[in-house]
Amino acid sequence: MEVGRRFVLRSASATGAFAALLAAGLLRPAQALAATWNKVAFGAKNPADALKGIGATSTAESKEVQLDLPQIAENGAVVPIEVSSKVPGTTSIAVIIEKNPFPLVAQFEFMEGALPYVKLNAKVGESSAVRAVADAGGKFYSASKEVKVTIGGCGG
């Protein structure tokens, strides 16, 4: 088990280190990276627009999309969400929290032997439906589950 270290920006030679990273092929140029962040989809303020933003104009409910999360969250700051897709040819998975101010939380593309699987922690502002959307050859399949965010603790 290797241990990662904070680096680059903590050092004075940030630019040099960045260049080295680029040379090593670990990072692509910042502009290119910025371009790969789907501003339209992530900026959407409702689930329908978010889906449109990732190209999912229509989705079919599917049991092949497996979504696991606790139905009750003691704290909305962290809601663990696990998604996997058994739809053949799945190339990406997106997670949408319908009642969040910006519903689209993440989209992952899988290639070179990566299984269509991801586990993440998301902030959930209020009790909401959580939707997972799998893209298989331009067709979109989805599953959803409710999560209830509760008030915890004795404090104010």
Binding site: L26, L33, G113, L115
Partner: protein, 103 residues
């Protein structure tokens, strides 16, 4: 300022489980600081996972990912000793990366 980062990659039956921990504030831009002003948005936007030099996962994420993000991914096959590299870039252009070998 990027804090520490950690990857754990374990060979399971038929696949490799990759788990990554990142230090990052993941500020939404919607939260008020102690001074009553909105704290500017500051969050990771892109994540890249490479195994044996090949990109296997490309992720785009929003400010709704929890502070100090943790992700798990799975890759078919994989052998002990294979190199796993993960890097991220946030909306301010800050970035970090680390690597490990499959155990």
């Amino acid at each position: 300022m990027p804090g520490p980062m950690k990857i754990r990659a374990t060979a399971e039956a038929g696949y490799t489980e990759i788990r990554v921990l990142m230090s990052h504030p993941m500020e939404t831009g919607l939260r008020k600081g102690p001074d009553g002003k909105l704290v500017p948005a500051h969050f990771i936007q892109n994540i890249t996972v490479k195994v044996g030099g090949k990109t296997v996962v490309e992720g785009q994420i929003s400010q709704a990912i929890s502070r100090n993000p943790v992700f798990a991914f799975r890759v078919k096959g994989g052998n002990k000793g294979d190199k796993v590299e993960i890097s991220w870039v946030d909306n301010k252009g800050e970035h970090n990366q680390t690597e490990t070998a499959v155990a």
